[in-house]
């Protein structure tokens, strides 16, 4: 049951919101978490995409591993359709956002938010991106205790090596890079991903001749089948909290519910932030209004403190649609880790020589388990995908037209551009002998980039977000440098063909649209609205150097939880 008032309301149960909710609830506050999307793996909603189900969940007993197994089929197309930002009702399409060009924003709706798609990579920010790039009002050292706490909750450990990671490490080593063994990275080099995924059962070693089932309790921990982008319920049969991938629905949501102070209300789209303004003073947040996405009914709830955690697109959209005070930086400074894809293709004999078998088999192992760090420039990571997601991420879009229209001449890649037609079919016939590297650049916040709302272009929740993103010259040069390094690593690993997508701006990592120091203060409370906090990736003051952002977003959300208690309770 949703009450009329709480100590705190958290808007959004994505990557970061549940962390703050957990901190507040641990301190004894009553917390309502409102989430626009469905709640998977919860007895209250046995068919979350087909029926409205229950109203809210306040007990860890509601969580069900069996239901998660049923709902997270790992079938890529179905899961993308179920998880991408849109209403729970499967008959209704995605919520529309306008993004420039043929790029896109990939975010999820549902308890867990975009961590339902994420691949569990939890590196820390590059220290220099916080201490030296001039964007942050706090220091890297301030985040360290919170990183440690988050890493413990998420069971962050070095990712396991399967064939595709060995191939990458061999290439990186041959290209002259060093292995990094540190958590706080200041020099370029390669490493295993620090992944928020339980390590695999030792039985699954290639030499152990395992021929049992890959289900719990026969195997515990990760079972090394691809599937993180599609939710990842592995190992099947495991209780909810024993699932290997520690997305926020598995790590922080159960911990929050266990306090008995938290209610999670899914299918609740917040459309307004309520405020009171004493004469001549700054407004104070007093609650929110939300709309039930199944019934369309609207409710209001009051709270002492409101925490926005709707993600770096919807948090500024909500601010703008709620008519909160104007601030030049609301929605501005968007970074998306302006990315690219560089793909290598191998001849079977060469693979036999480097990794001892004629195929890479990117569907085996964790999706993203090896990385290359380059503070000041960004990162690279290997990506295993099933063929559908691989096709759209790697080949379906390009800023430079189709591959047959380009002649890369003496570029480090053999082909560049979008692939379709016979070229695509020929290439994907080698799916098992290819490996993609995702280029993730350290793009910097620019005020022109960000989220606005256009009056008149509205959906059922008000004017839709209109996103602008145009990388700078420096952003492009960082990305080009990373693409060159990726091509070199692939060649050194023996690839016979290298293809670069030249992807259009596509947002998998979305941050810095409500930046600390610009829109919120060092405790992440809004400068212009009292008792209104932000606890999602939008408060990151930059793109944390290009490292995967969730560890930092969650560390900051934990810190914000503590600051809220200190300041207001």
């Amino acid at each position: 049951m949703v009450e009329d008032s709480y100590d705190a309301i958290v808007v959004g149960a994505g990557g970061d919101g549940p962390v703050t909710a957990w901190k507040l609830a641990e301190a004894g506050l009553s917390v309502l978490v409102l989430e626009a999307g469905p709640f998977h793996g919860n007895e209250q909603w046995p068919n979350p995409h087909e029926e409205p189900g229950g109203e809210a969940s306040s007990s860890v007993e509601d969580l069900s591993g069996d239901l998660l197994d049923e709902q997270f089929t790992t079938r890529e197309f179905e899961m993308i359709t179920n998880l991408v930002f849109g209403p729970a009702d499967h008959e209704r399409g995605f919520w529309f956002r306008k993004f420039p060009g043929d790029g896109a924003i990939l975010q999820c709706a549902g308890v867990g938010g975009t961590t339902l798609h994420y691949t569990g990579c939890h590196p820390r920010a590059y220290p220099a991106s916080i201490d030296e790039q001039g964007h942050w009002p706090i220091e890297y050292a301030d985040l360290l205790p919170y990183y440690r706490e988050v890493e413990e909750m998420c069971e962050v450990t070095p990712a396991p090596v399967t064939a595709k990671e060995e191939l990458f490490f061999r290439g990186a080593e041959a290209a002259g890079w060093d292995l990094i063994e540190d958590l706080n990275v200041t020099e370029p080099g390669y490493r295993p991903q620090p992944n928020a995924i339980k390590q695999p059962d030792g039985k699954l070693h290639v030499d152990a001749d395992y021929d049992g089932d890959f289900t719990y309790p026969d195997v515990e921990g990760d079972s090394l089948a691809l599937g993180n982008i599609a939710g990842n319920p592995h190992p099947r049969g495991a209780p909810f909290e024993e699932k290997a991938k520690r997305a926020s629905n598995v790590s922080f949501v159960p911990a929050a519910l266990r306090t008995d102070n938290v209610t999670v209300r899914p299918n609740a789209f917040v459309t307004d932030v309520l405020t009171e303004t004493p004469r001549g003073d700054t407004p104070t947040a007093t609650g929110v209004e939300f709309r039930d996405t199944w019934s369309g009914s609207v409710e209001r709830v009051e709270a002492e403190v409101v925490v926005l955690a709707a993600g770096a697109i919807e948090t500024p959209r909500l601010w703008l649609n709620a008519d909160l005070p104007a601030n030049d930086w609301v929605g501005r400074g968007l970074t998306i880790h302006f990315g690219d894809n560089v793909m290598g293709l191998w001849d079977p004999d060469d693979l036999e020589e480097t990794i001892g078998k004629p195929t890479v088999d990117q569907h085996e192992g964790q999706d993203i388990a090896a990385r290359f760090d380059y503070p000041g420039v960004g990162m690279l990571q290997t990506v295993g995908t099933a063929p559908g997601i691989g096709a759209i991420l790697g080949f379906g879009a390009s800023a430079s037209g189709f591959a047959f229209q380009n002649d890369p001449a003496d570029a480090p890649w053999d082909t560049m551009g979008r692939l379709a037609g016979g070229d695509l079919k020929r290439l994907l016939s080698d799916h098992r002998r290819m490996l993609q590297i995702l280029v993730v650049s350290d793009d910097r916040p620019h005020q022109r980039n960000g989220v606005t709302v256009a009056p008149g272009v509205a959906d059922e929740h008000g004017p839709i977000p209109v996103v602008n993103y145009e990388p700078s010259e420096g952003d492009r040069r960082r990305r080009d440098e990373l693409a060159r390094i990726a091509a070199d690593v692939l060649r050194e690993a023996g690839a016979s063909h290298v293809h670069r997508s030249d992807s259009p701006p596509t947002a998998l990592h979305v941050h810095s649209t409500m930046r600390m120091g610009k829109v919120v203060d060092e405790a992440c409370e809004a400068y212009d609205v009292d008792r209104l906090f932000v606890a999602d990736h939008s408060v990151l003051a930059n793109g944390v150097g290009g490292a995967n952002p969730t560890n930092t977003g969650q560390a900051l959300a934990a810190r914000t939880g503590e600051r809220i208690v200190e300041r207001h309770f």
Binding site: T73, E173, N184, G388, I392, F404
Partner: protein, 298 residues
């Protein structure tokens, strides 16, 4: 200049289309059929993006011949884009989804005309080529002739060239005078290339009926059941693999532990070891940091 021409053209087309009863009935869920022009255009898209490729038979094997049309990729793509985005606007029907297949087909015609106008097509457009895309269940060629637009008459490569032209434009189209919807032309390209590819290469074809609710869909998860899986060698979805090789680390570092399973580099001592170690909580010093590339302010 071309941009505003496209704008104008799309807006006029949309208005004229929207004013017909057929479309209104379709909004209300009563209209049975896909517009013939949309149907032919989507067949032309599927045929360009994932074509039938007899030439691959000799090179790769007979399973690599069939393309998107063989599995009705075009039909599903129409359903998918029409149900794909929702605005919750009541006049768009109970689900509030925005049907966009028809406008997409018209945008592609405009792109085709631009290609022809620039003389960038490599082959002459041909009505017969378009009509040859019709399947056995489609209305006869004679009935369809008038519905064939310039996009469907292009050769496969020229169709892709036309799609590439869309990246140059921002197209806006407005479903009604009240609710302005702006779509980037690039979104059209993304839907007809990127999404088409994702659908085709995913598990989609294996469902008995994808439009059923998730709990009532069946999928055999058999590598033979999906045409594209036969072409990519994807073995289907699995619960796990005994694929662990170990953990990377150096001889004296903290990362890997236990016996070496294989050596990555003898001189640096980087090996794949049996057991996991852990990352080092190192001291760090950023004092010497220099920006590798220039940084603009703001």
């Amino acid at each position: 200049m071309v941009t505003s021409r496209i704008d104008e053209w799309v807006t006029t087309t949309w208005r004229s289309v929207a004013s017909t009863w057929g479309l209104l009935l379709e909004f209300a869920g009563i209209g049975p059929d896909v517009d013939p022009h949309t149907r032919v255009t989507f067949r032309a898209i599927a045929d360009a993006v994932v074509p039938e490729t007899p030439a691959l038979a000799e090179e790769l094997g007979p399973e690599h011949v069939a393309g998107g049309l063989a599995v009705d990729l075009d039909e599903f793509a129409i359903t998918y884009v029409d149900d794909g985005f929702q605005f919750g606007l009541p006049h768009l029907g109970p689900q509030g989804n925005m049907p966009i297949a028809d406008p997409i087909a018209h945008v592609l015609d405009t792109a085709a005309l631009t290609l022809l106008e620039r003389g960038d097509n490599e082959e002459e457009p041909s009505l017969d080529r378009a009509l040859s895309l019709l399947g056995p269940d489609d209305p006869s060629a004679a009935k369809t002739e008038s519905a064939v637009g310039p996009f469907a008459k292009l050769s496969r490569r020229d169709r892709l060239r036309a799609i590439a032209i869309l990246d140059e434009f921002e197209v806006e189209f407005s479903p009604t005078d009240h609710d302005l919807l702006e779509l980037d032309a690039g979104l059209v390209g993304q839907l007809v290339v990127g999404f088409m590819e994702m659908i085709y290469y995913s598990e989609w074809q294996g469902y008995d009926d994808f439009t059923e609710p998730p709990s009532r869909r069946n999928h055999p998860n058999d590598p033979d059941a999906v045409q594209s899986w036969r072409q990519t060698g994807f073995p289907g979805f699995a619960n796990g693999y005994a694929a662990l090789r170990g953990y990377v680390g150096t001889d004296d570092g903290p990362l890997g532990d236990g016996d070496a399973w294989t050596t990555i580099d003898e001189t640096t001592g980087v090996r794949i070891r049996r057991e996991s170690g852990s990352f080092r909580e190192n001291d760090y010093d950023t004092g010497g940091y220099e920006e590798p590339f220039p940084v603009e302010s703001g």
